[in-house]
Amino acid sequence: MAPILELRGITKHFPGILANDHIDLTLDQGEILALLGENGAGKTTLMNILYGLYQPDEGQIFVKGSPLEVHQPSDAIRAGIGMVHQHFMLVPVFTVAENVMLGQERMRLAGFLNRAEAAEKVRELSKAHGLEVEPEAYVKDLSVGVQQRVEILKLLYRQADILILDEPTAVLTPQESDELFKVMRSLVAAGKSIIFITHKLREVLEVADRITVLRRGAVVATTTPAKANRAKLAEMMVGRQVRLEVRKAARKPGETVLDIRDLVAINDRRQVAVDGVSLEVREGEVLGIAGVQGNGQTELVEVVTGLRRPLSGSVRLQGQDVTGASPRRITELGAAHVPEDRQRDGLVLPYSVAENLALQTYYRPPFARGVVLQEGEIRKSAEARIGEFDIRTPSAATPAGSLSGGNQQKVIVAREFSRPIRLLVASQPTRGLDVGSIEYIHGRILEKRDGGTGVLLVSPELDEVLELSDRIAVMYRGRIVATVAADRVTKEQVGLLMAGVVPEGIEAQGIVRTVEATL
């Protein structure tokens, strides 16, 4: 039987770069094909060609053995190809059913929309594939994970047989990802075929039937999960050996650097987000905060770094009370902050790399003499940092906004790590980065720890927290459910704690509050 989809020799040039280089790829009926590659390997370009958003320079597409010309997305849709983009294409003020039927509206007489029939169809589809969603709900009220289900429902409604999911897990929590994988399996069981684009190794091994690895626009290998492992896949992706396991020196904690007592804070919607948190971070240790996103971690970090005023409780840094102090005072006491959203908080994108590197110190000698900026000093220092931290930028004068995500993160890391710091607050330090960048940033964080800096690490990536932390505090609904030694828990146990359940047999040493108390 011919494969349901075949790409032959797809080539696409962009000015100055060969995005796709004679790519051959096949997708069989009823399988999940993982398309694995680092950011910039050409995965999305290839899928955009398949979906008709780009025209290839060379190459052909075959669907069920017959050649297909795709000039625009509607050609692809007609051939049964559907795509869920990284950035969802939904109308927030429409209901789920309205969004699903958008473009193929069902009409009653006189042109009225038949919402009831659409809703019924949505209900039917969601039941058939385990995509739980309320057809009458407004999309703006749904979580990201549920919105993604709506996107998938849209494809099913249009009777797509080939589903392309572009980095679907990038925006999901681990639990939501697992849900998605279940849905994907049920879809292929029903005869659909899926191309799953990702750069996360664990997911590929978990869910794919076959794996095609892209590097620099070309297919470097096609394999199966049975024949591959994480190390092998990483090596194929990056083109060299990658250290996946973080090697940690033994922990030698010292004095308390950060001391949080009974902290209460509200979020922007005036709900209690941090509900009586007490924590301690010592010199030379990494305290990881694990938790599903939205359980108060963001607000906790904001309070610690001075960006949010707490309602009550206290924060002490190096023995000094900094509760409600200004960000500058906290910075000057030796705290560094790698913010959760680097483009929103950590960088001024139109500013040059040099200016961004001076963002915390521009007002002090040698960068300023009185109120006069010393541009020579700023540039000189920036050039040193660029070399030391291997920031790939054409020059120190390049705007930070035109660097890749990984290099933007390096700018922040270079800035925050180049001061003498006692406390490092790192919030999702590797979000959206590829394997090579993650390896680098992790190494730098541990280097700081070994140098005696206390590190507060917040990440929804459980693997990251487990690998880097000495101790793990699990946050659930604004509270610390438990604090445990990282080498004494399993991933499953932490996962349960993240869901608010205290598993049996866990080392009682750290549990500061039982779940009953939090409910």
Partner: protein
């Protein structure tokens, strides 16, 4: 890494953050207009190539505005209509002649007649020389209030704020300067003039401080509040001129003439009005440049404007800088009004400003919110203004055509995509970006 890949990713990340309110349209516009196009990689380009990258859109916008203005002049000219009745060829010929005549008059009115200048210089008659050079001097007189007001709006743009209130600040600055100008008697010029200038700046500063304070403390949008402050300023000046500040011996709503010691000195005998204010404006423009780009204060202001979140993260008190930015912007606009009173009119009359404050928004955009750009744009607007008078007299073209040309220049500035399409310019650094955003370590 391809561009298509990089962009959606960034959006997805921003969307995920979720907590930040989306920036309002004004803010996006400000960022669009103050951003310098990214430097392409590769060998460093010569300074004039880089200057051209920044200036190409404004320069071509002006060119296109004048071109379309010419079409408009031809379309509305009865002479051209009549010629078309005779024959198409004659119609076209006449159209070109009319447009040429109009722009020649505009040019002569703005810069002076080169032939007359040469003749005057040869004759050596000082009166003739002054007359011949008066047009260009008069253009600089017209440009001066534009420089002050344009700097006001540009400074606010850099701080992420939309100062629609320059017009009101001009009025208040003029009022306070006028009062100090006529009420204080017997001071020497060296004291009185700086005092009057400071009073004008202070008045404008107050009028900027209020909306700044409201924004920082209550979040009230500065666009709304500065517009409201304009109305208050207009009516306040009406009331003052018909009451407390009305000239005692007059039935017109005009203030007393200011003391000679408060007047900005003129360099030539009447009727040439060219005065010290022009050089004060250039000095202030340099000061604003130094402040914005060479000091930590300016760094604070620009950071608070470019990314308030990152500014807070970097320890900058954004609320305080909103207030400072609006206060400084008000002071600069106040100086525009002061300049008109102390340098040109020597008294305050109703509606003396004729919209400098509103034109200055256009100027700041045209000048890319850079002091040098503002000075150049002000000189352009000043010359258009003063040349237009001669165009009306000599060529019979209504002075309003200049407003239309200004409006078209602005429209082109606000929609750079049009200019880039017409002149086939490369999208700024788009192609280069594809290389820049490639991942590392891979």
């Amino acid at each position: 890494m391809t561009k298509s890949k990089g962009k959606p990713k960034g959006k997805a990340e921003q969307g995920k953050a979720g907590e930040a309110p989306p920036p309002d349209a004004a803010h996006i516009l400000i960022q669009e207009l103050t951003a310098t196009p990214p430097e392409p990689p590769g060998p460093k380009r010569s300074w004039w190539r880089r200057a051209w990258r920044v200036a190409q859109v404004p320069v071509l916008a002006v060119f296109s505005g004048l071109l379309l203005g010419g079409v408009l002049i031809a379309l509305t000219s009865p002479e051209v209509h009549a010629a078309f009745q005779v024959s198409v060829l004659q119609g076209i010929g006449t159209a070109f002649a009319v447009v040429f005549r109009a722009y020649a008059a505009l040019f002569a009115g703005a810069f002076g007649d080169p032939l007359k200048m040469a003749a005057a210089l040869q004759s050596g008659d000082p009166l003739a020389i002054r007359r011949a050079f008066n047009p260009i001097l008069e253009s600089m007189v017209a440009a001066t209030p534009y420089i002050f007001a344009g700097l006001s709006v540009a400074l606010a743009f850099r701080g992420g704020l939309f100062n629609i209130g320059a017009e009101g600040q001009i009025f208040i600055g003029a009022i306070t300067a006028t009062y100090v100008g006529y009420a204080l008697v017997g001071l020497p010029l060296i004291i009185h003039l700086p005092l009057a200038l400071a009073a004008g700046a202070l008045g404008g500063a107050l009028w900027g401080y209020i909306p700044g304070w409201l924004k920082a403390r209550t979040g009230a949008h500065e666009v709304i509040n500065t517009i409201m402050m304009n109305y208050i300023a207009f009516r306040l000046s009406d009331w003052l001129l018909t009451g407390p500040m009305m000239r005692p011996d007059s039935f017109n709503p005009v203030s007393p003439t200011i003391q000679e010691s408060a007047m900005l000195p003129r360099f030539f005998a009447d009727p040439i009005r060219f005065h010290l204010g022009f050089f004060v404006a250039l000095g202030v423009a340099y000061l604003v440049y130094w402040f914005l780009f060479r000091t930590t204060w300016g760094f604070n202001l620009r950071t608070a404007g470019a990314n308030p979140n990152a500014a807070r993260y970097a320890g900058i008190n954004t609320g305080r800088w909103i207030i400072i930015t609006m206060t400084l912007a008000g002071a600069l606009a106040g100086l525009a009004g002061t300049n008109e009173v102390l340098g040109v009119n020597h008294n305050l009359a109703m509606a003396f400003s004729s919209g400098y404050g509103f034109d200055s928004i256009a100027l700041a955009l045209l000048g890319r919110s850079h002091p040098l750009g503002v000075v150049l744009a002000s000189l352009l607007f000043g010359t258009l203004r003063s040349g237009a008078r001669r165009m009306q007299v000599v060529a019979g073209i209504p002075i309003d055509i200049i407003s239309v040309i200004q409006a078209m220049i602005l429209a082109f500035m606000a929609a750079p995509a049009i200019i880039r399409t017409i002149y086939r310019l490369r999208q700024p650094a788009e192609a280069e970006e594809e290389v820049l955003v490639r991942g590392w370590g891979g």
